[in-house]
Protein backbone atom coordinates (compact mmCIF):
# COMPACT_ATOMS: atom_id res chain seq x y z
CA UNK A 1 0.00 0.00 0.00
CA UNK A 2 1.16 3.53 -0.73
CA UNK A 3 3.02 5.41 1.98
CA UNK A 4 0.84 7.48 4.25
CA UNK A 5 0.91 11.18 3.66
CA UNK A 6 1.86 13.50 6.44
CA UNK A 7 -0.78 15.87 7.66
CA UNK A 8 -0.13 19.44 6.70
CA UNK A 9 -1.30 22.09 9.16
CA UNK A 10 -4.62 23.75 8.40
CA UNK A 11 -3.45 27.33 8.71
CA UNK A 12 -5.92 29.50 6.87
CA UNK A 13 -9.28 28.39 8.12
CA UNK A 14 -11.96 30.92 7.30
CA UNK A 15 -15.21 29.05 7.88
CA UNK A 16 -16.95 27.56 10.88
CA UNK A 17 -19.89 25.27 11.52
CA UNK A 18 -21.86 26.62 14.46
CA UNK A 19 -24.86 25.69 16.56
CA UNK A 20 -26.13 28.94 18.03
CA UNK A 21 -28.98 29.96 20.29
CA UNK A 22 -31.66 31.08 17.85
CA UNK A 23 -31.88 34.44 19.62
CA UNK A 24 -28.50 35.30 18.09
CA UNK A 25 -30.28 35.78 14.79
CA UNK A 26 -32.46 38.58 16.11
CA UNK A 27 -31.28 41.91 14.87
CA UNK A 28 -31.88 44.93 17.03
CA UNK A 29 -31.84 48.54 15.86
CA UNK A 30 -29.88 47.43 12.80
CA UNK A 31 -27.11 46.18 15.08
CA UNK A 32 -25.15 42.98 14.59
CA UNK A 33 -23.71 40.55 17.13
CA UNK A 34 -19.98 40.75 17.88
CA UNK A 35 -17.50 38.09 18.89
CA UNK A 36 -15.44 39.74 21.63
CA UNK A 37 -12.64 39.02 24.06
CA UNK A 38 -13.26 39.67 27.74
CA UNK A 39 -11.30 39.31 30.95
CA UNK A 40 -11.13 35.51 30.67
CA UNK A 41 -8.77 35.33 27.69
CA UNK A 42 -9.08 31.62 27.16
CA UNK A 43 -12.66 32.05 26.03
CA UNK A 44 -14.30 33.80 23.13
CA UNK A 45 -17.62 35.48 23.86
CA UNK A 46 -20.34 36.97 21.77
CA UNK A 47 -22.47 39.99 22.50
CA UNK A 48 -25.84 39.75 20.81
CA UNK A 49 -27.16 42.55 18.65
CA UNK A 50 -27.40 45.75 20.72
CA UNK A 51 -25.41 44.01 23.48
CA UNK A 52 -28.66 42.80 25.05
CA UNK A 53 -27.44 39.27 25.62
CA UNK A 54 -24.07 37.64 26.32
CA UNK A 55 -23.05 34.33 24.78
CA UNK A 56 -20.16 31.97 25.30
CA UNK A 57 -18.41 30.13 22.46
CA UNK A 58 -17.34 26.55 22.98
CA UNK A 59 -16.08 24.07 20.42
CA UNK A 60 -16.59 20.37 19.99
CA UNK A 61 -13.14 19.42 18.79
CA UNK A 62 -11.82 15.97 18.10
CA UNK A 63 -9.02 14.85 15.84
CA UNK A 64 -9.83 13.53 12.35
CA UNK A 65 -12.98 15.33 11.36
CA UNK A 66 -14.00 17.46 8.43
CA UNK A 67 -17.35 18.74 7.20
CA UNK A 68 -19.34 18.43 4.05
CA UNK A 69 -21.41 21.59 3.89
CA UNK A 70 -23.71 21.47 0.90
CA UNK A 71 -21.46 21.00 -2.11
CA UNK A 72 -18.25 21.95 -0.31
CA UNK A 73 -15.66 20.45 1.99
CA UNK A 74 -14.66 22.33 5.11
CA UNK A 75 -11.47 20.81 6.40
CA UNK A 76 -11.84 22.21 9.93
CA UNK A 77 -13.99 19.67 11.75
CA UNK A 78 -14.85 21.72 14.82
CA UNK A 79 -18.47 22.25 15.79
CA UNK A 80 -18.94 25.54 17.61
CA UNK A 81 -21.62 26.11 20.22
CA UNK A 82 -22.83 29.62 20.94
CA UNK A 83 -24.87 29.42 24.12
CA UNK A 84 -26.26 32.05 26.43
CA UNK A 85 -24.02 33.15 29.26
CA UNK A 86 -24.96 34.86 32.50
CA UNK A 87 -23.10 38.20 32.42
CA UNK A 88 -22.99 38.21 36.23
CA UNK A 89 -20.22 35.59 36.15
CA UNK A 90 -18.04 38.10 34.31
CA UNK A 91 -19.14 41.13 36.37
CA UNK A 92 -18.48 39.20 39.58
CA UNK A 93 -14.64 39.39 39.54
CA UNK A 94 -14.80 43.17 39.09
CA UNK A 95 -17.24 43.49 41.99
CA UNK A 96 -15.10 41.29 44.23
CA UNK A 97 -11.96 43.22 43.37
CA UNK A 98 -13.65 46.54 44.02
CA UNK A 99 -15.07 45.22 47.26
CA UNK A 100 -11.62 44.20 48.43
CA UNK A 101 -9.94 47.41 47.37
CA UNK A 102 -12.57 49.99 48.15
CA UNK A 103 -14.93 48.26 50.50
CA UNK A 104 -17.54 50.87 49.86
CA UNK A 105 -20.50 51.42 47.57
CA UNK A 106 -19.38 52.17 44.03
CA UNK A 107 -21.16 53.09 40.83
CA UNK A 108 -21.16 49.86 38.87
CA UNK A 109 -20.04 51.48 35.63
CA UNK A 110 -16.92 52.59 37.49
CA UNK A 111 -16.33 49.09 38.75
CA UNK A 112 -16.72 47.27 35.45
CA UNK A 113 -14.14 49.24 33.58
CA UNK A 114 -11.19 47.53 32.01
CA UNK A 115 -8.68 49.25 29.77
CA UNK A 116 -7.24 45.92 28.82
CA UNK A 117 -10.59 44.55 27.68
CA UNK A 118 -12.59 47.56 26.56
CA UNK A 119 -15.56 45.40 25.58
CA UNK A 120 -16.12 44.68 29.30
CA UNK A 121 -18.18 47.81 29.83
CA UNK A 122 -20.62 46.48 27.24
CA UNK A 123 -21.50 43.73 29.73
CA UNK A 124 -23.57 46.31 31.58
CA UNK A 125 -25.75 46.81 28.52
CA UNK A 126 -26.98 43.24 28.78
CA UNK A 127 -30.61 43.31 29.84
CA UNK A 128 -29.98 40.98 32.73
CA UNK A 129 -26.91 42.64 34.18
CA UNK A 130 -28.46 45.52 36.09
CA UNK A 131 -31.70 43.73 36.91
CA UNK A 132 -29.85 40.86 38.54
CA UNK A 133 -27.00 42.75 40.16
CA UNK A 134 -28.68 42.34 43.54
CA UNK A 135 -27.77 38.65 43.40
CA UNK A 136 -24.12 39.51 43.98
CA UNK A 137 -24.20 42.99 45.52
CA UNK A 138 -26.02 45.20 47.95
CA UNK A 139 -27.41 48.44 46.70
CA UNK A 140 -26.99 51.64 48.60
CA UNK A 141 -30.27 52.63 50.18
CA UNK A 142 -31.91 55.29 48.11
CA UNK A 143 -29.61 54.83 45.18
CA UNK A 144 -29.92 52.49 42.24
CA UNK A 145 -26.43 53.21 41.04
CA UNK A 146 -24.19 52.39 43.99
CA UNK A 147 -23.38 48.80 44.78
CA UNK A 148 -21.10 46.78 47.04
CA UNK A 149 -20.12 43.15 46.65
CA UNK A 150 -21.86 40.74 48.98
CA UNK A 151 -20.45 37.28 49.40
CA UNK A 152 -23.53 36.13 51.24
CA UNK A 153 -25.80 37.10 48.36
CA UNK A 154 -23.37 35.66 45.86
CA UNK A 155 -23.27 32.31 47.62
CA UNK A 156 -27.05 32.14 47.77
CA UNK A 157 -27.20 32.98 44.08
CA UNK A 158 -24.60 30.34 43.22
CA UNK A 159 -26.44 27.83 45.34
CA UNK A 160 -29.52 28.35 43.18
CA UNK A 161 -27.33 27.87 40.14
CA UNK A 162 -26.13 24.57 41.53
CA UNK A 163 -29.71 23.49 42.20
CA UNK A 164 -30.82 24.38 38.69
CA UNK A 165 -27.85 22.50 37.30
CA UNK A 166 -28.70 19.39 39.30
CA UNK A 167 -32.22 19.45 37.89
CA UNK A 168 -30.84 19.66 34.35
CA UNK A 169 -28.30 16.89 34.97
CA UNK A 170 -31.06 14.60 36.17
CA UNK A 171 -33.34 15.53 33.34
CA UNK A 172 -30.63 14.75 30.81
CA UNK A 173 -29.72 11.53 32.65
CA UNK A 174 -26.13 12.58 32.82
CA UNK A 175 -24.01 10.13 34.71
CA UNK A 176 -22.31 11.99 37.56
CA UNK A 177 -20.85 9.06 39.51
CA UNK A 178 -17.15 8.81 40.04
CA UNK A 179 -16.84 5.52 38.17
CA UNK A 180 -14.13 5.17 35.59
CA UNK A 181 -15.06 7.01 32.47
CA UNK A 182 -13.39 5.91 29.34
CA UNK A 183 -14.46 5.27 25.82
CA UNK A 184 -13.82 1.60 26.31
CA UNK A 185 -16.39 1.42 29.06
CA UNK A 186 -20.06 1.62 28.44
CA UNK A 187 -21.61 4.52 30.21
CA UNK A 188 -24.16 3.25 32.63
CA UNK A 189 -26.90 5.70 33.21
CA UNK A 190 -28.06 4.62 36.61
CA UNK A 191 -30.52 6.23 38.89
CA UNK A 192 -28.38 5.32 41.83
CA UNK A 193 -25.98 8.23 41.41
CA UNK A 194 -26.30 9.70 44.84
CA UNK A 195 -27.01 13.26 45.75
CA UNK A 196 -23.47 14.09 46.84
CA UNK A 197 -22.31 13.05 43.39
CA UNK A 198 -24.84 15.37 41.80
CA UNK A 199 -23.87 18.18 44.13
CA UNK A 200 -20.18 17.77 43.49
CA UNK A 201 -20.67 17.49 39.77
CA UNK A 202 -22.89 20.57 39.56
CA UNK A 203 -20.56 22.48 41.88
CA UNK A 204 -17.69 21.54 39.56
CA UNK A 205 -19.57 22.89 36.56
CA UNK A 206 -20.42 26.18 38.26
CA UNK A 207 -16.81 26.41 39.43
CA UNK A 208 -15.75 26.68 35.80
CA UNK A 209 -17.09 30.22 35.94
CA UNK A 210 -15.85 31.44 39.32
CA UNK A 211 -12.54 31.82 41.09
CA UNK A 212 -11.04 28.96 43.01
CA UNK A 213 -11.50 30.86 46.23
CA UNK A 214 -15.18 31.41 45.62
CA UNK A 215 -15.52 27.81 44.51
CA UNK A 216 -14.19 26.64 47.88
CA UNK A 217 -16.47 29.01 49.73
CA UNK A 218 -19.41 27.74 47.73
CA UNK A 219 -18.64 24.15 48.60
CA UNK A 220 -18.50 25.06 52.28
CA UNK A 221 -21.76 26.91 51.90
CA UNK A 222 -23.38 23.89 50.29
CA UNK A 223 -21.95 21.39 52.75
CA UNK A 224 -21.09 23.26 55.96
CA UNK A 225 -20.34 20.11 57.95
CA UNK A 226 -17.12 19.77 55.97
CA UNK A 227 -15.01 21.63 58.45
CA UNK A 228 -11.58 20.15 58.53
CA UNK A 229 -9.08 21.51 56.09
CA UNK A 230 -8.00 18.03 55.26
CA UNK A 231 -11.32 17.21 53.73
CA UNK A 232 -11.52 20.19 51.47
CA UNK A 233 -7.90 20.30 50.54
CA UNK A 234 -7.35 19.45 46.93
CA UNK A 235 -5.61 16.16 46.31
CA UNK A 236 -1.98 16.47 45.36
CA UNK A 237 -1.07 17.15 41.77
CA UNK A 238 0.43 13.71 41.69
CA UNK A 239 -2.97 12.17 41.52
CA UNK A 240 -3.72 13.91 38.28
CA UNK A 241 -0.71 12.39 36.68
CA UNK A 242 -1.47 8.89 37.77
CA UNK A 243 -3.15 6.69 35.24
CA UNK A 244 -6.32 6.68 37.26
CA UNK A 245 -8.61 9.04 35.37
CA UNK A 246 -9.21 11.70 37.92
CA UNK A 247 -11.59 14.24 36.57
CA UNK A 248 -10.07 17.57 35.98
CA UNK A 249 -11.71 20.54 37.56
CA UNK A 250 -13.00 18.54 40.43
CA UNK A 251 -9.84 18.38 42.42
CA UNK A 252 -11.10 20.75 45.03
CA UNK A 253 -14.54 19.26 45.07
CA UNK A 254 -13.38 15.75 45.70
CA UNK A 255 -13.00 14.53 49.16
CA UNK A 256 -12.37 11.19 50.59
CA UNK A 257 -15.73 9.54 50.73
CA UNK A 258 -14.55 7.64 53.81
CA UNK A 259 -14.08 10.90 55.66
CA UNK A 260 -17.30 12.24 54.43
CA UNK A 261 -19.97 12.29 57.07
CA UNK A 262 -22.90 10.39 55.68
CA UNK A 263 -24.84 10.75 58.92
CA UNK A 264 -27.65 13.20 58.43
CA UNK A 265 -26.76 16.48 60.09
CA UNK A 266 -28.90 17.56 63.00
CA UNK A 267 -30.15 20.49 61.10
CA UNK A 268 -30.41 20.53 57.35
CA UNK A 269 -29.01 23.48 55.52
CA UNK A 270 -31.06 25.23 52.91
CA UNK A 271 -29.04 23.57 50.22
CA UNK A 272 -29.57 20.14 51.65
CA UNK A 273 -33.26 20.72 51.92
CA UNK A 274 -33.46 21.71 48.30
CA UNK A 275 -31.26 18.86 47.37
CA UNK A 276 -33.42 16.41 49.22
CA UNK A 277 -36.45 17.86 47.53
CA UNK A 278 -34.89 17.82 44.12
CA UNK A 279 -33.48 14.40 44.60
CA UNK A 280 -36.87 12.77 44.97
CA UNK A 281 -37.38 13.26 41.29
CA UNK A 282 -34.25 11.26 40.72
CA UNK A 283 -35.78 8.29 42.44
CA UNK A 284 -38.72 8.25 40.08
CA UNK A 285 -38.67 6.08 37.03
CA UNK A 286 -37.06 7.53 33.91
CA UNK A 287 -40.42 7.85 32.24
CA UNK A 288 -41.64 10.26 34.87
CA UNK A 289 -39.20 12.84 33.59
CA UNK A 290 -41.22 13.12 30.46
CA UNK A 291 -44.58 13.32 32.12
CA UNK A 292 -45.67 16.89 32.71
CA UNK A 293 -47.12 16.09 36.15
CA UNK A 294 -43.86 15.07 37.71
CA UNK A 295 -41.59 17.22 35.66
CA UNK A 296 -38.69 18.05 37.90
CA UNK A 297 -37.78 21.25 36.18
CA UNK A 298 -38.53 24.35 38.13
CA UNK A 299 -39.81 27.32 36.30
Amino acid sequence: MAAKKKRTPNTHNDSWVVIAASAVETQKHDCDPDFVKLRNPSTLYMLGAGDVQLYEVKAFEEDFHSWFVGQTVQRDGKLLFVTQMDPLYLILPYMIKSGQEQGKFQPVDQVVKDDEFPASSRLLSCTRSLTSLHHIAEGKVGSLKFHRYSQERTLNWLQKKVERTIVALKKKHICVGEGVKSTTYVRVKTESDNQEDYLRYAHGLISEYISEELSKALLKHLLPELKSAKETEPPSKKRKLSDKPVEAGEDYTKFNSGDFARKPPKKMTAAQKTLAKVDKSGMKPMSSFFSPKTKAEKK
Binding site: K4, K5, N40, T43, E62, D63, G204, L205
Partner: protein
Amino acid sequence: MDLKQFEADNSGSCRLASRIPDVCRTEDCCLGVDEAGRGPVLGPMVYGICFCPVSKKEELKDLKVADSKTLNEAERENLFQKLDEAQSYVGWALQILSPNMISTSMLQRTKYNLNALSHDTAICLIQYALDSGVQLKEVYVDTVGPAEKYEKKLSQLFPGIQVTVRPKADSLFPVVSAASICAKVARDHVVKGWNFAEDLGEIDTDYGSGYPNDPKTKEWLLKYLDPVFGYPQFVRFSWSTAQTLMDSKAAPVHWDDDEEDGEKAAQQQNNRSMLSYFSASAEGDRAQPTHRFFSERRLKSLKSL
Protein backbone atom coordinates in the same frame (compact mmCIF):
# COMPACT_ATOMS: atom_id res chain seq x y z
CA MET B 1 -28.40 -15.06 -16.17
CA ASP B 2 -30.62 -12.76 -14.20
CA LEU B 3 -28.54 -10.15 -12.35
CA LYS B 4 -31.40 -7.89 -11.25
CA GLN B 5 -30.93 -8.78 -7.61
CA PHE B 6 -27.32 -7.63 -7.62
CA GLU B 7 -27.96 -4.63 -9.81
CA ALA B 8 -30.60 -3.36 -7.37
CA ASP B 9 -27.75 -2.80 -4.87
CA ASN B 10 -24.29 -3.23 -6.31
CA SER B 11 -22.53 -2.02 -3.17
CA GLY B 12 -22.71 -5.27 -1.22
CA SER B 13 -22.54 -9.00 -1.75
CA CYS B 14 -25.20 -11.07 -3.47
CA ARG B 15 -25.91 -14.75 -4.13
CA LEU B 16 -27.43 -15.99 -7.34
CA ALA B 17 -28.28 -19.67 -7.84
CA SER B 18 -29.89 -22.09 -10.27
CA ARG B 19 -32.63 -24.42 -9.19
CA ILE B 20 -31.21 -27.49 -7.43
CA PRO B 21 -31.59 -30.51 -9.76
CA ASP B 22 -33.60 -33.26 -8.01
CA VAL B 23 -31.01 -35.85 -8.89
CA CYS B 24 -28.38 -33.92 -6.91
CA ARG B 25 -30.41 -34.50 -3.74
CA THR B 26 -30.47 -38.26 -4.21
CA GLU B 27 -27.18 -39.16 -5.85
CA ASP B 28 -23.57 -38.65 -4.75
CA CYS B 29 -22.33 -35.40 -6.27
CA CYS B 30 -19.13 -33.63 -7.17
CA LEU B 31 -18.71 -29.87 -6.92
CA GLY B 32 -16.21 -27.40 -8.39
CA VAL B 33 -15.23 -23.98 -7.00
CA ASP B 34 -13.59 -21.20 -8.97
CA GLU B 35 -13.45 -17.43 -9.03
CA ALA B 36 -13.42 -14.69 -11.64
CA GLY B 37 -12.12 -11.13 -11.40
CA ARG B 38 -9.64 -11.48 -8.58
CA GLY B 39 -7.00 -9.24 -10.12
CA PRO B 40 -8.82 -6.30 -11.72
CA VAL B 41 -8.96 -2.90 -10.08
CA LEU B 42 -12.51 -2.47 -11.42
CA GLY B 43 -15.72 -4.33 -10.84
CA PRO B 44 -16.75 -7.27 -8.69
CA MET B 45 -15.08 -10.53 -7.86
CA VAL B 46 -17.40 -13.45 -8.53
CA TYR B 47 -17.18 -16.81 -6.83
CA GLY B 48 -18.87 -19.76 -8.51
CA ILE B 49 -19.74 -23.34 -7.69
CA CYS B 50 -21.06 -25.90 -10.11
CA PHE B 51 -22.23 -29.38 -9.15
CA CYS B 52 -23.62 -32.57 -10.70
CA PRO B 53 -23.92 -36.25 -9.80
CA VAL B 54 -20.58 -38.08 -9.89
CA SER B 55 -22.22 -40.39 -12.42
CA LYS B 56 -22.68 -37.46 -14.83
CA LYS B 57 -19.03 -36.36 -14.87
CA GLU B 58 -18.55 -37.72 -18.40
CA GLU B 59 -21.61 -35.96 -19.72
CA LEU B 60 -20.28 -32.70 -18.27
CA LYS B 61 -17.01 -33.32 -20.06
CA ASP B 62 -18.96 -33.85 -23.30
CA LEU B 63 -20.29 -30.31 -22.97
CA LYS B 64 -16.64 -29.31 -23.64
CA VAL B 65 -16.47 -26.99 -20.68
CA ALA B 66 -12.82 -27.84 -20.17
CA ASP B 67 -10.09 -25.23 -20.02
CA SER B 68 -12.18 -22.11 -19.57
CA LYS B 69 -9.12 -19.83 -19.63
CA THR B 70 -8.70 -20.38 -23.36
CA LEU B 71 -12.24 -19.35 -24.20
CA ASN B 72 -13.36 -15.97 -25.43
CA GLU B 73 -16.39 -14.17 -24.13
CA ALA B 74 -18.78 -15.47 -26.81
CA GLU B 75 -17.65 -19.05 -26.25
CA ARG B 76 -18.17 -18.67 -22.55
CA GLU B 77 -21.70 -17.33 -23.10
CA ASN B 78 -22.38 -20.27 -25.33
CA LEU B 79 -21.12 -22.77 -22.78
CA PHE B 80 -23.09 -21.16 -19.98
CA GLN B 81 -26.15 -21.58 -22.21
CA LYS B 82 -25.35 -25.31 -22.51
CA LEU B 83 -24.91 -25.63 -18.74
CA ASP B 84 -28.24 -23.98 -18.25
CA GLU B 85 -29.84 -26.42 -20.69
CA ALA B 86 -28.37 -29.27 -18.64
CA GLN B 87 -30.25 -28.07 -15.57
CA SER B 88 -31.78 -31.48 -15.03
CA TYR B 89 -28.48 -32.63 -13.59
CA VAL B 90 -26.20 -29.54 -13.35
CA GLY B 91 -26.66 -26.85 -10.71
CA TRP B 92 -24.68 -23.71 -9.98
CA ALA B 93 -24.50 -20.87 -7.49
CA LEU B 94 -22.61 -17.60 -7.47
CA GLN B 95 -21.52 -15.09 -4.91
CA ILE B 96 -20.91 -11.64 -6.34
CA LEU B 97 -18.63 -9.53 -4.17
CA SER B 98 -19.01 -5.89 -5.16
CA PRO B 99 -15.91 -3.73 -5.53
CA ASN B 100 -17.25 -1.59 -2.67
CA MET B 101 -17.48 -4.63 -0.44
CA ILE B 102 -13.94 -5.66 -1.40
CA SER B 103 -12.61 -2.14 -0.69
CA THR B 104 -14.33 -1.72 2.65
CA SER B 105 -13.33 -5.22 3.78
CA MET B 106 -9.70 -4.91 2.81
CA LEU B 107 -9.44 -1.39 4.27
CA GLN B 108 -11.31 -2.27 7.48
CA ARG B 109 -9.82 -1.28 10.86
CA THR B 110 -9.13 -4.96 11.40
CA LYS B 111 -7.91 -5.78 7.92
CA TYR B 112 -9.75 -8.52 6.09
CA ASN B 113 -7.45 -9.63 3.30
CA LEU B 114 -8.47 -10.91 -0.09
CA ASN B 115 -7.39 -14.49 0.62
CA ALA B 116 -9.48 -14.67 3.76
CA LEU B 117 -12.41 -13.12 1.91
CA SER B 118 -11.98 -15.66 -0.91
CA HIS B 119 -11.79 -18.64 1.44
CA ASP B 120 -14.82 -17.53 3.41
CA THR B 121 -16.83 -17.03 0.23
CA ALA B 122 -15.90 -20.46 -1.13
CA ILE B 123 -16.79 -22.06 2.21
CA CYS B 124 -20.13 -20.25 2.24
CA LEU B 125 -21.00 -21.53 -1.23
CA ILE B 126 -20.10 -25.16 -0.38
CA GLN B 127 -22.19 -24.84 2.76
CA TYR B 128 -25.04 -23.45 0.67
CA ALA B 129 -24.94 -26.57 -1.55
CA LEU B 130 -24.97 -28.80 1.54
CA ASP B 131 -27.82 -26.85 3.10
CA SER B 132 -29.78 -27.21 -0.13
CA GLY B 133 -29.56 -30.99 0.17
CA VAL B 134 -26.90 -31.65 -2.47
CA GLN B 135 -25.27 -35.01 -1.65
CA LEU B 136 -21.69 -33.79 -1.79
CA LYS B 137 -18.95 -36.41 -1.92
CA GLU B 138 -16.19 -34.71 -3.90
CA VAL B 139 -15.15 -31.07 -3.96
CA TYR B 140 -12.57 -29.61 -6.37
CA VAL B 141 -11.17 -26.17 -5.75
CA ASP B 142 -8.88 -23.85 -7.66
CA THR B 143 -6.42 -22.73 -5.04
CA VAL B 144 -6.03 -19.36 -3.41
CA GLY B 145 -2.77 -19.27 -1.48
CA PRO B 146 -0.87 -22.48 -0.67
CA ALA B 147 -2.95 -25.42 -1.95
CA GLU B 148 -2.01 -27.88 0.78
CA LYS B 149 -2.97 -25.62 3.64
CA TYR B 150 -6.23 -24.64 1.98
CA GLU B 151 -7.08 -28.30 1.28
CA LYS B 152 -6.50 -29.18 4.93
CA LYS B 153 -8.66 -26.30 6.09
CA LEU B 154 -11.56 -27.34 3.80
CA SER B 155 -11.23 -31.04 4.68
CA GLN B 156 -11.51 -30.19 8.37
CA LEU B 157 -14.52 -28.00 7.77
CA PHE B 158 -16.33 -30.56 5.65
CA PRO B 159 -15.62 -34.00 7.12
CA GLY B 160 -16.71 -36.89 4.94
CA ILE B 161 -16.13 -34.96 1.74
CA GLN B 162 -13.16 -35.67 -0.49
CA VAL B 163 -11.58 -32.23 -1.00
CA THR B 164 -9.04 -31.63 -3.77
CA VAL B 165 -7.35 -28.23 -3.99
CA ARG B 166 -5.08 -27.65 -6.97
CA PRO B 167 -3.59 -24.74 -8.82
CA LYS B 168 -5.19 -24.44 -12.28
CA ALA B 169 -7.95 -26.78 -11.18
CA ASP B 170 -10.18 -25.33 -13.90
CA SER B 171 -8.09 -27.00 -16.59
CA LEU B 172 -7.90 -30.27 -14.66
CA PHE B 173 -11.49 -30.84 -13.56
CA PRO B 174 -14.49 -30.13 -15.84
CA VAL B 175 -16.71 -29.37 -12.85
CA VAL B 176 -14.28 -26.60 -11.81
CA SER B 177 -14.16 -25.35 -15.37
CA ALA B 178 -17.96 -25.21 -15.38
CA ALA B 179 -17.88 -23.19 -12.13
CA SER B 180 -15.31 -20.91 -13.70
CA ILE B 181 -17.52 -20.32 -16.74
CA CYS B 182 -20.50 -19.40 -14.54
CA ALA B 183 -18.37 -16.97 -12.53
CA LYS B 184 -16.76 -15.38 -15.57
CA VAL B 185 -20.03 -14.91 -17.42
CA ALA B 186 -21.52 -13.23 -14.36
CA ARG B 187 -18.51 -10.92 -13.96
CA ASP B 188 -18.59 -10.00 -17.67
CA HIS B 189 -22.27 -9.13 -17.44
CA VAL B 190 -21.90 -7.12 -14.26
CA VAL B 191 -18.96 -5.12 -15.55
CA LYS B 192 -20.54 -4.46 -18.92
CA GLY B 193 -23.83 -3.31 -17.46
CA TRP B 194 -22.41 -1.60 -14.35
CA ASN B 195 -25.03 0.65 -12.92
CA PHE B 196 -23.15 3.59 -11.38
CA ALA B 197 -24.84 4.57 -8.12
CA GLU B 198 -23.09 7.92 -8.36
CA ASP B 199 -24.90 10.68 -10.12
CA LEU B 200 -22.23 11.31 -12.75
CA GLY B 201 -24.24 11.51 -15.96
CA GLU B 202 -22.94 9.66 -19.00
CA ILE B 203 -19.94 7.56 -18.11
CA ASP B 204 -17.45 6.23 -20.59
CA THR B 205 -17.68 2.43 -20.31
CA ASP B 206 -14.55 1.80 -22.35
CA TYR B 207 -12.59 0.71 -19.31
CA GLY B 208 -10.81 -2.20 -20.91
CA SER B 209 -10.21 -5.45 -19.04
CA GLY B 210 -10.07 -3.78 -15.63
CA TYR B 211 -6.57 -5.11 -15.06
CA PRO B 212 -4.21 -2.41 -13.79
CA ASN B 213 -1.76 -2.94 -16.64
CA ASP B 214 -4.35 -2.46 -19.36
CA PRO B 215 -3.74 1.02 -20.91
CA LYS B 216 -7.48 1.56 -21.37
CA THR B 217 -8.10 0.84 -17.72
CA LYS B 218 -5.31 3.23 -16.74
CA GLU B 219 -6.70 5.95 -18.95
CA TRP B 220 -10.15 5.47 -17.48
CA LEU B 221 -8.79 5.68 -13.94
CA LEU B 222 -7.10 8.98 -14.76
CA LYS B 223 -10.21 10.38 -16.38
CA TYR B 224 -12.55 9.51 -13.52
CA LEU B 225 -10.40 10.57 -10.59
CA ASP B 226 -12.26 12.99 -8.33
CA PRO B 227 -10.04 15.19 -6.11
CA VAL B 228 -12.24 14.64 -3.04
CA PHE B 229 -14.06 11.34 -3.47
CA GLY B 230 -11.43 9.51 -5.44
CA TYR B 231 -13.52 7.12 -7.50
CA PRO B 232 -16.99 5.74 -7.98
CA GLN B 233 -17.72 2.54 -6.06
CA PHE B 234 -16.96 0.61 -9.26
CA VAL B 235 -13.25 0.96 -8.41
CA ARG B 236 -11.48 -1.11 -5.77
CA PHE B 237 -9.94 1.54 -3.53
CA SER B 238 -7.80 -1.09 -1.85
CA TRP B 239 -5.79 -1.71 -5.02
CA SER B 240 -2.40 -0.01 -5.05
CA THR B 241 -3.10 1.29 -8.57
CA ALA B 242 -6.02 3.31 -7.25
CA GLN B 243 -4.20 4.31 -4.05
CA THR B 244 -1.17 5.58 -5.95
CA LEU B 245 -3.26 7.68 -8.31
CA MET B 246 -5.21 9.19 -5.41
CA ASP B 247 -2.02 9.86 -3.46
CA SER B 248 -0.63 11.90 -6.32
CA LYS B 249 -3.77 13.62 -7.58
CA ALA B 250 -6.44 13.76 -4.88
CA ALA B 251 -6.73 15.58 -1.56
CA PRO B 252 -4.99 13.67 1.25
CA VAL B 253 -7.42 12.13 3.72
CA HIS B 254 -6.42 11.14 7.25
CA TRP B 255 -8.17 8.60 9.48
CA ASP B 256 -7.71 7.92 13.15
CA ASP B 257 -6.33 4.47 12.39
CA ASP B 258 -3.75 5.64 9.85
CA GLU B 259 -0.56 4.27 11.29
CA GLU B 260 1.55 7.38 11.15
CA ASP B 261 -1.22 9.91 11.66
CA GLY B 262 -2.83 7.94 14.44
CA GLU B 263 0.37 7.61 16.42
CA LYS B 264 1.17 11.24 16.06
CA ALA B 265 -2.31 12.23 17.07
CA ALA B 266 -2.08 10.14 20.21
CA GLN B 267 1.18 11.84 21.04
CA GLN B 268 -0.22 15.29 20.45
CA GLN B 269 -3.23 14.50 22.55
CA ASN B 270 -0.97 13.44 25.39
CA ASN B 271 1.16 16.54 25.17
CA ARG B 272 -1.89 18.73 25.03
CA SER B 273 -3.52 17.24 28.09
CA MET B 274 -0.30 17.48 30.07
CA LEU B 275 0.10 21.09 29.10
CA SER B 276 -3.46 21.93 29.97
CA TYR B 277 -2.82 20.79 33.52
CA PHE B 278 0.08 23.10 34.04
CA SER B 279 -0.52 26.15 31.91
CA ALA B 280 -1.88 28.96 33.95
CA SER B 281 -3.64 31.58 31.93
CA ALA B 282 -1.98 34.91 31.19
CA GLU B 283 -3.95 36.57 33.92
CA GLY B 284 -2.41 34.34 36.54
CA ASP B 285 -5.73 32.65 37.16
CA ARG B 286 -5.63 29.17 38.54
CA ALA B 287 -4.65 26.54 36.04
CA GLN B 288 -8.15 25.42 35.36
CA PRO B 289 -8.45 21.94 34.00
CA THR B 290 -11.73 21.31 32.32
CA HIS B 291 -14.56 19.61 34.16
CA ARG B 292 -15.13 16.10 32.95
CA PHE B 293 -18.52 17.09 31.58
CA PHE B 294 -16.61 19.00 28.92
CA SER B 295 -13.66 16.68 28.39
CA GLU B 296 -15.95 13.68 27.92
CA ARG B 297 -17.81 15.62 25.27
CA ARG B 298 -14.66 16.93 23.58
CA LEU B 299 -15.84 20.44 24.39
CA LYS B 300 -13.43 23.22 25.09
CA SER B 301 -13.42 26.96 25.21
CA LEU B 302 -12.56 28.60 21.95
CA LYS B 303 -9.87 31.26 22.16
CA SER B 304 -10.58 32.92 18.85
CA LEU B 305 -12.25 32.26 15.53
